[in-house]
């Protein structure tokens, strides 16, 4: 990621609001399914469609999951919280109010620790509250605007950060960490493409030591990349505006993926007055401390704890460990591989280089059994195969998983360490390239590498590179 550079001493101040769709089986206030991708309006009922006389009944699982999110981010869990109505008219909102939480959210005052190239930083989490999703409007050129109510009432949590973020890198690192932590708790799929994790960016600029500037909001960013680009662009726009002596207005702005520009959507003076008030249909949420304790015990080992364990148990660097823990499935995979092998550090390196390169997209599955990866690492570490061969083995197993040793034997990749044989390759390489040998001795020592390459080719890439290099050096010195 390119480092962002401060312009004219203006610092950006960012707070993020992240919406995460919870993976409950049923909706927040009725028993309709939350499954993604169903035919329009097949997962709705009078309750989630806001028919007159119907009443919401809070899904307890939603509270449970939201509390897990709060516990995983070191929040204080409110013993007493309530649900409020946020009133506004829009066709995707059947009741004309969204049930959310206003002044007494479920979780408050948490934080996440993120790591960027600048080091570790703690980002505060102001609050986490529960709310319902709205429906989806589909604009059809012939039929007009159609409403799909399948999403109405799908449970969400909104995670609001403190304005602690100062660079696009920190914003992305925070999002990645948040996504990892949430995914670890198992309460959401956190798939940005499917919209189960969406991000709003609040951004202002100021000079350090001066008060914060007026902020703008960019809504519904659905990839790490668009978050970063939107931040960079909006920062640039605000600095330019301030330089020209223009005033920044508080407003909601849209980020256009294709143009990479932000444009005004709605000014504050035109903003809705949501007329929040406590929803009289729903009793306050009162949580017994022992229930919260019980839920706390359910939390799995979280990314930071795993990272620390990888560093101490396997001697991994902070950077490598952070990469492995960024996704629970990857971390689980790594742990399975590490447990099966005598070479966990090599397994980690193979994952970060080869496996990450081959993995495509969110939620993709590694098609190699973890103990096979462990075995490849072991073969590499013991010198049975060299590092180039290890790459080949992983690539081959990716398309057809099998015992690595079987493949190594069949493909003839076992490393050649017999000095007699290796001397033969060295000799032949020198015989085939007398000109290079001569030039080498005249001072073109670079050609040693070319000769080394020739010898390696003669071994079909199987030669032990360390031993081969030593023998090559010896042979060249003797001449």
């Amino acid at each position: 990621m390119a480092e962002w550079k401060m312009i004219d001493g203006y610092e950006m101040v960012i707070g993020l609001e992240v919406h995460v769709e919870l993976k409950t089986r049923t909706k927040i206030f009725c028993s309709c399914s939350t499954a993604f991708g169903a035919e329009p309006n097949t997962q709705c009922c009078p309750v989630c469609m806001g028919f007159p006389g119907t009443l919401p009944v809070l899904n307890e699982q939603v509270v449970h999951y939201a509390v897990l999110a709060g516990l995983a981010t070191d929040c204080t869990i409110a013993r007493y919280s309530k649900q409020d109505r946020k009133n506004y008219f829009y066709p995707d909102l059947p009741k004309a109010y969204q049930i959310s939480q206003y002044d007494l959210p479920l979780c408050v005052n948490g934080h996440l620790t993120v790591e960027t190239s600048q080091g570790e930083k703690r980002i505060g989490i102001t609050r986490i509250h529960i709310e319902e999703d709205a429906g989806k409007l589909v604009h059809d050129p012939e039929k007009g605007t159609l409403i799909d109510c399948n999403r109405c009432g799908v449970p969400l949590i909104e995670i609001v950060s403190e304005p602690d973020i100062r660079t696009p890198q920190e914003a992305v690192a925070y999002l990645q960490k948040l996504k990892a932590v949430i995914a670890y708790t198992g309460i959401s799929d956190c798939r940005m493409q499917e919209g189960s994790l969406r991000c709003d960016v609040n951004l202002s600029i100021h000079k350090p030591g001066e008060p914060f500037g007026t902020r703008t909001e960019m809504k519904n960013l659905n990839s790490f990349q668009s978050v970063q680009r939107a931040i960079e662009e909006e920062y640039r726009r605000q600095v330019e505006a301030v330089r020209k002596g223009e005033e920044i207005v508080q407003e909601t702005r849209r980020f256009d993926q294709t143009s990479g520009k932000t444009s005004s959507m709605r000014r504050k003076e035109n903003a809705n007055d949501y007329r929040y008030f406590p929803d009289p249909d729903l009793a306050p949420i009162v949580l017994a401390p022992d229930l919260v304790e019980k839920w706390k015990a359910e939390l799995p080992m979280l990314p930071d704890a795993r990272k620390a364990a990888y560093m101490s148990d396997y001697g991994l660097t902070g950077y490598a460990a952070e990469q492995l823990v960024s996704d629970k499935a990857l971390a689980d995979y790594f742990e399975a591989a590490a447990k099966s092998t005598t070479a966990p550090k090599t397994a980690a390196n193979l994952m970060i280089t080869e496996v990450f390169r081959l993995l495509e997209g969110e939620g993709a599955v590694i098609p190699i059994a973890p103990e096979h990866l462990g075995k490849v690492a072991e073969l590499a570490e013991t010198g049975a195969i060299n590092s180039g061969a290890a790459k080949k083995v992983i690539a081959a197993l990716w398309t057809h998983d099998e015992e690595p040793e079987d493949y190594v034997a069949r493909a003839g990749l076992r490393q050649e360490s017999d000095e007699g044989v290796l001397r033969g390759y060295v000799r032949r390489a020198m015989e085939e390239h007398p000109d290079m040998v001569e030039s080498y001795h005249r001072g073109k020592v670079n050609l040693g590498k070319a000769l080394m390459g020739a010898a390696m080719s003669l071994s079909a890439g199987r030669a032990n590179p360390v031993a081969l290099q030593r023998l090559m050096d010896e042979a060249l010195q003797q001449k």
Partner: protein, 486 residues
Amino acid sequence: MSMIDMTLAQLADGLRQGEMSSVEITRAYLDRIGQTEKKVGAYITLTPEMALSQAEAADRARQSGETVHPLCGVPVAVKDNICVEGVKTTCASRMLEDFVPPYSATVWEKLSAAGCVLLGKTNLDEFAMGSTTENSAFHLTHNPRNLAHVPGGSSGGSAACVAAAETPFALGSDTGGSIRQPAAFCGVVGMKPTYGMVSRYGLVAFASSLDQIGPMTKTVRDNALALDLLAGYDRRDTTSVKRGYTPMGRDIGRGVKGLTIGLPRQMFAEGLSDGVRRAVTHAAKVLEGLGATVKEIDLPSLEYALPAYYVLSSAEASSNLARFDGVRYGHRAAEYADLEELYVKSRSEGFGPEVKRRILLGTYTLSAGYFDAYYKKALQVRTLVIRDFDRAFEDFDALLGPVAPTTAYRIGEKSMSPMEMYLGDVHTVPVNIAGIPALSMPCGADENGLPVGLQLMGKTFSEPMLYRIGGALEEALGCTWKEATL
């Protein structure tokens, strides 16, 4: 005795003993409706075919020898803001003129499971907002005791059809007096149960924290029988209370000796008509004569209950009625240029003036900058009212007061003055604000022969006590139900 003059208890006896069938009873009431409904106008929708087929089913169930509910086969009328699957539920509004809910209210499911027979859906003030039923978008309902007068409201249709013997009992809903005041105006018995006793699922919400469904009947005992059927926790309404109930009428007949009954001074202050004051004071004397201790009591917060009620109920209404936007169901303007116009025209055309007034009022009080001064303040008053009642019930078994300051208004008398209309709710709204139960029952008549109603208020879930006192009063006053002469 004609079946239309029988009480629920008598009909239940007759059915049990095989003296009459549900079909016979149902036909008798449908005939009565045929004779009197043109004058009264209590119903919005009649369901005679459905009623007869339900009556036949009830008779079959009884004949088959299976255990049936005592009220199996008894007809009922349901206020038209309570959903019955497949039957129009209009809320007396153009907005829902053709709305047919694909689900039933929990109360109707209970009645239906017991084998009750639906005669029809009754008229009301649009979305239950009003005190005369004149705010119905469809037609007037006349007070069967005097057709030139209003039946009260908002459950005016339900009260009128019980008074006119067009049903043995009816369901109403009470947000600020909408069961008790029409019961008083029409000379019938109505109960506003403890908030949370009866499920609100399927009741089209006016003000969710105040709304409660309750029965309207000919007698106190009938009322207890009907409430037995309605009360109970419902998992679809999380504001309904998880608790069991013993028969509501279990203490009727135990008399009032030794009970202490309070008369809130604030309910007997100026503004009370002579006729009402005389009848209610007389009832208090009668109770004393029966051996109860009757004392005056101060409930200072009652003075603020009315404004608090109008702030809270309008705020909730403005949000509850926002869903009527012309998008998914209900009235939609025929032509509109854009989304904004679709909303504005559909809602302007669909709602009547009183509903619009409350929506505007509620929207205003919830708006940024006004919330603390109105809504929050009203919540504080609510706490004070609850506290005043709590304190009163430490010393009193029940409180007695008038239901309304006057007897039934003449049709058209108050419809031009909303403020005057609102003031008529002064004695009923504190009960809703506090969530306590109150029984409204006839206690005599004024100089024009119009019924006067009194209300007995008790602590939460004290309905059996209110029926006990009400039963004793009913007997001692001789205010037994009489069919309206039409």
